[in-house]
């Protein structure tokens, strides 16, 4: 089994300009991963599947991960001219102050692939891909034409995270129903108050019952009023 670095150089030799980044994993599992450039991902995936040494014919697991926008506070040294009264005379003095500055690190959606080889019995090789942002540029290439096992798992990620897989033969929601609006696995998802609400023919019946109930209450109140 090749190490992640060797696989990276093998990919770069086979697909020029692939732009593979090695992402180290500091935990004891030491499962390092390779981040692919979405533009070359399909070519790289075909190479990984068909290469005689790697023969990664089994795509086991496809995972979506949501990385929301992160507000990062940094302390920045700023030099400013301040007017100060020194010895009774007002002077312009330069002063260096540390100032907290906030900037927003843009978030993204990430998809993680765990590859194994059934022919060579080795693995895992972990691939990752990131979308540009979380709102309008959420397209990633689909691996379903290469490994069929991605079919349902990519549909699930489309459903729960909102990643659009271009080239997927049948991209529909998998677990939530058609017509559901949001993506429940995103970190900023808020439950609707009544997400099982569906307009049914019963609504008109219920409305009539409510009107009828209001009318009977009026009658009852009039009745009690008369008794008093």
């Amino acid at each position: 089994m090749k190490t992640a670095e060797e696989i990276k150089s093998a990919i770069e030799a086979a697909v020029p300009g692939a732009g593979v980044v090695l992402i180290p994993n500091t935990s004891p599992s030491a499962q390092h991963s390779l981040r692919l450039d979405p533009a070359h991902a399909v070519e790289v995936a075909k190479f990984l599947r068909d290469d005689a040494d790697l023969a990664l014919d089994f795509l086991s697991n496809v995972t979506g991960v949501d990385w929301p926008d992160k507000e990062i506070t940094e302390k920045v040294k700023v030099t400013r001219t301040v007017s100060k009264t020194v010895d009774g005379v007002e002077q312009q003095v330069e002063e260096t102050v540390e100032e907290p500055r906030k900037h927003i690190q843009p978030g993204c959606l990430e998809v993680v692939y765990h590859l194994f080889s059934m022919a060579k019995k080795h693995g895992p090789v972990i691939l990752r891909m990131r979308t540009v942002n979380r709102t309008d540029q959420v397209e990633l290439p689909s691996f379903t034409p290469i490994w069929r096992s991605a079919e349902f798992q990519e549909r699930e990620i489309f459903d729960l995270y909102g990643v659009v897989f271009t080239g997927h033969p049948d991209l529909r929601r998998l677990l939530m129903w058609e017509g559901f609006k949001d993506h429940p696995m995103r970190r900023d998802y808020v439950d609707p108050d009544d997400y099982e609400y569906e307009p049914t023919p019963h609504d008109s019946v219920l409305a009539r019952a409510a009107a009828h109930k209001a009318a009977t209450e009026c009658v009852a109140q009039e009745g009690t009023g008369a008794a008093q």
């Binding site: 935990s27 697991n61 895992p124 490994w147 696995m185």
Partner: protein, 395 residues
């Protein structure tokens, strides 16, 4: 059997474009298609699952599975709970095999933190996992026979044996199905000598049960006529579609994670991996029967060799459990296939990302490929031979 007109569509070459997609079938002549929704409340679907089937007479032209009726977003719930709090919830994924679910999750967390598991706990895990495998396969075959129309009685033969194994689970863990037994770095309670004796007695009775089961079924004319040559899955497609477990081995691909990864202490046991030849329903049935026999061999070795010692890693932390930032993917050979857990830690008490790789869902990828061109009655049978639990499919 597939009709000659349709079988050519299944023999597409591997280098052909779209070879791993189900073929698009046309009805014969000008027949009108009948669209049937099988499920979600259908006795053959093992729960709430729907297949939208298009039929030309009795022949299946199109089949689309519909999921989500039992979806409760287990992964989201786990992201809001501590690591240990998800352990009881893993019981509810595949509620037939709660102990293997526990093990897969514990294994992933142990990979994330680098915890060691004491030897005695490893033996207990193997014993419980193999008992789970036997009772799962026995009831899977029982349900398969039921789907063939033998209502009730054969299933009860399987359940009779399953009861004995569930009694063992109850004596050890306090629960028959929702065992919640494994912990990160070991197990929850120790086994007693009396429990081991009871387990040995149950295991000693298992070969007789399997012989009896096989005498009734394996050579049965009706079972052979219904199962042989039905629902054929080619090995290339099985590998490409990520099929695992008895279904993959029924197609003749030698891939058992117990042999490949040697997780736990599986490298200490001598056992063989049964393989099918044709990839049909009968081979999947036979692989399950033979796997039960191999499990008995593992159990006999494990029950003989159980060492003494602690059952928990003494360094394991119960309170304030916070793995260092990082990620890990742990997988085991569950009775239904590869069950994996993928965890990302950000250093907090809750996992940042918690993902279950469900074998039941991914094994259904090729359901349409296996069912096209067959009769409706065979769809029920093929679906039963996949062996799924909806708690795991929909999560």
């Amino acid at each position: 059997m597939t009709t000659p007109a349709t079988s050519s569509a299944f023999l597409r070459e591997k280098n052909e474009e779209g070879w791993n997609r189900p073929p698009i079938m046309e009805p014969d002549g000008e027949a009108e298609l009948l669209e049937v929704a099988m499920g979600p409340h259908h006795p053959s679907t093992h729960g709430v699952f729907r297949m939208d089937v298009a039929l030309d007479g009795e022949r299946v032209i199109r089949l689309k599975p519909v999921f989500g009726y039992l979806h409760r977003n287990h992964e989201k719930i786990a992201e809001g709970a501590s690591y240990l709090a998800s352990m009881p919830y893993t019981d509810r994924l595949d509620y037939f095999c709660s102990l293997t679910n526990n093990w897969a999750y514990a294994l992933a967390v142990e990979k994330l933190t680098g915890q060691e598991v004491p030897e005695r706990a490893e033996y207990i895990r193997v014993i419980l996992a193999e008992l789970t495998r036997i009772q799962n396969h026995a009831s899977a075959i029982g349900f398969l026979i039921q789907e063939m129309g033998a209502s009730g009685t054969p299933l009860m033969y399987a359940f009779k044996e399953r009861e004995k194994i569930l009694d063992l689970f109850e004596a050890l863990t306090g629960s028959r199905m929702m065992c919640n037994y494994m912990r990160f770095g070991g197990c929850r309670v120790d086994i007693s000598a009396a429990w081991l004796d009871a387990a040995r007695k149950v295991v000693a009775g298992l070969p007789d049960f399997i012989d009896e089961f096989e005498n009734l079924l394996s050579g049965n004319e009706i079972l052979m006529a219904r199962c042989q040559g039905v629902g054929i899955l080619r090995p290339e497609l099985a590998v490409n579609a990520g099929i695992t477990g008895p279904m993959l081995r029924g197609s003749g691909v030698n891939y058992d994670i117990r042999k490949v990864d040697h997780y736990g202490i599986y490298d200490r046991f001598k056992f063989r991996v049964p393989l099918g030849d044709h990839g049909d329903v009968y081979d999947r049935y036979m692989v399950r029967v033979l796997e039960m026999r191999e499990s008995i061999i593992i159990l006999n070795q494990a029950l003989k060799e159980v060492p003494g010692g602690p059952i928990m890693d003494p360094k394991a932390k119960i309170r304030g459990f916070r793995p260092k930032p990082g990620e890990a993917y742990g997988r085991i050979e569950a009775p239904k296939g590869e069950l994996g857990f993928y965890l990302i830690s950000d250093g907090s008490p809750n996992p940042y990302r918690y993902r279950v790789r469900p074998p039941s869902l991914i094994n259904l990828t090729v359901l349409e490929d296996m069912c096209l061109g067959t009769n409706v009655a065979d769809v029920v049978l093929i679906f039963g031979s996949v062996d799924i639990v909806l708690g795991e499919v929909d999560r």
